[in-house]
């Protein structure tokens, strides 16, 4: 008799008034936003001002240490490292935008279609993407560079293509969840066609998932560009790139370790920033989608 009385009206409990409570922004969201903000700010500043021309070779001031004149010192050609880091932020963001753009533009519609299409279409499509998923992204990028010539754009289109499968999976599973809701049933009862349901109901409701996935893909793309530049397949020489700065620094790792530290830290900040931002956004949005069922 000590059992808790469930009450007669237990099945008809009132729903919380005013919808789901807004969750507070988590620490990772905040830190992520700050770090990403730092990278974006650096890129924006570099358009209007850099202490020196980042590509200016000055033999008289080679390998200087950190000073008031050269905040982060200079490299073996006498180029100002701080200026290179600032302009390198541009490259980094460009890389992320291209890769995520390519992946998103292709993967989002594909994911929704894969969720709404009949089995005979969706299943082979997903298996085909699994095949692509098994292919290493860097290898694909190197292959692309070998065929189309090495450039940031080519490398990033390859990275974008390589991140399509995981993107499609995320969008598809989110879409399936949305498609099982009563509001989609209601839309069908209202006479909405599949295209309208996909566009007006599924897309807006998976958009938070897309944003989360995009920020994670952004981090992956930045890392991939750094790795490719290090290998010599990424951004070609005159344009400053954090990955190539790392590569150029390796022969002087013992005499001037700061040359590796600054671009290394910059890459870490950008990747960590986008990862934390993605995690933070996931924490904020995912439970909401789950509650909706």
């Amino acid at each position: 008799m000590s059992r808790i009385d469930p009450g007669i009206g237990a099945a008809g409990e009132p729903l919380p008034v005013g919808g789901l409570p807004r969750r507070r922004a988590g620490a990772s969201l905040l830190v992520g936003a700050v770090l990403v903000g730092l990278v974006v700010a650096a890129a924006l500043v570099s358009f209007v001002w850099t202490p020196y021309d980042p590509t200016l070779v000055d033999a008289s001031s080679r390998l200087q240490t950190m000073s008031a004149r050269h905040l982060f010192g200079t490299d073996k050609f006498g180029r100002d490292v701080f200026s290179q880091i600032l302009v390198g932020a541009r490259t980094t963001l460009f890389v992320g935008i291209v890769a995520v753009g390519v992946a998103g533009v292709i993967a989002v519609p594909l994911g929704i279609v894969a969720a709404m299409a009949p089995r005979w279409f969706a299943e082979p499509l997903m298996r085909l993407l699994d095949l692509l998923l098994a292919f290493p992204a860097l290898l694909l990028a190197i292959m692309f560079s070998a065929v189309y010539g090495g450039s940031t754009l080519v490398a990033m289109i390859a990275i974008g293509i390589a991140s399509i499968p995981s993107f499609v999976r995320v969008v598809r599973s989110g879409s399936l969840q949305v498609l099982s809701t009563e509001y989609v049933l209601a839309a069908r009862a209202a006479g909405r066609r599949p295209v309208a349901i996909g566009w007006r109901h599924v897309l807006p409701n998976v958009s938070s998932l897309v944003i989360v996935q995009a920020s994670v893909a952004f981090a992956i793309a930045i890392l991939a560009e750094a790795a490719l530049s290090f290998l010599g397949y990424g951004t070609p020489p005159p344009v400053p790139s954090w990955g190539r700065m790392l590569q150029e620094s390796q022969e002087m790792l013992f005499t001037a370790p700061r040359l590796a530290v600054f671009p290394g830290v910059a890459i870490a900040v950008a990747v960590l920033g986008f990862n934390l931002l993605g995690d933070g956004l996931r924490d904020r949005y995912d439970p909401k989608l789950e509650d909706r069922r």
């Binding site: 009385d5 469930p6 009450g7 007669i8 009206g9 099945a11 008809g12 409990e13 009132p14 729903l15 008034v17 005013g18 919808g19 789901l20 809701t181 009563e182 509001y183 049933l185 209601a186 839309a187 069908r188 009862a189 209202a190 006479g191 909405r192 066609r193 309208a196 007006r200 109901h201 807006p204 409701n205 909706r292 069922r293």
Partner: protein
Amino acid sequence: MSTDTEPTPAIRVDDVHRDFRRPRRSIRQPGPTVQALRGVSLEVAPGERFGIVGESGCGKSTLMRIIAGLDRPTKGRVLIEGRDVTALPERRLGFLRQRLQVVFQDPMGSLDPRMRVRDIIAEPLVAQGVKNRRDRVAELLDAVGLPAEAANRYPHQFSGGQRQRISIARALAPRPTILLADEPVSALDVSVRAQVLNLLDDLVTELGLTLVFVSHDLSVVRHVCDRLAVMSAGQIVETGPTRQVYDHPQHPYTERLLRSVPSMHKALAGASTTDLLGADRAKPKDVEDKGTAHA
């Protein structure tokens, strides 16, 4: 079944079966089949208020979806205003989407959280290419007792009862003649149930609609319907005028269902919650037993 000489019934369901195939568990044999509906027939006359009652899982929601053209029967026919809709492809169901509308159960889940109330209510109108949607939405909001400024808000800003009003407004938007209500108040707080029921009742009378009301709650159905069908394990076990079914239940299942309705009277007579729950527990098991015996 009605034997009078009505011209065409608003809804006629003819020996409808619906099987669901469960996912296969072995590669050697196909997955098991669940018979959600096994030979359901019914007729609803124009202007009638028809109730479908039964335990959860008895197939009443499946039946509702089939009538609404949201699911297809495995066998059998559905006629809406004399037209067979069973075999029609989606793009030729336009008349059905206009004549017949649905109010869903879950006031949270049946409204798109990313849409403004205005767009939610206008959705059937957009789908059917109706002009002057703004005025119609304002008219509908007024009809369901919501302020005009509700149009600019999002569903989560409303209470369960208000959301159900929005749902009703959307259903009425294309001026349907038949309204299907799938447990429209069972997810609501007891205190707002009566309000929403009365609203539905008034609107059905005012607009001369045919109402099909699906519920597991007999006291609610009694309040609204003229005639009702009792469903159990995918079949209709009893049909008749509400009064008659209540006072002289013919089928043992109906009797059990009626007995289990918690009432003030019973509570005063000393039945505890545990007794009522006990009665509740016994039923689904019984239904299941019956189900497996048939399968």
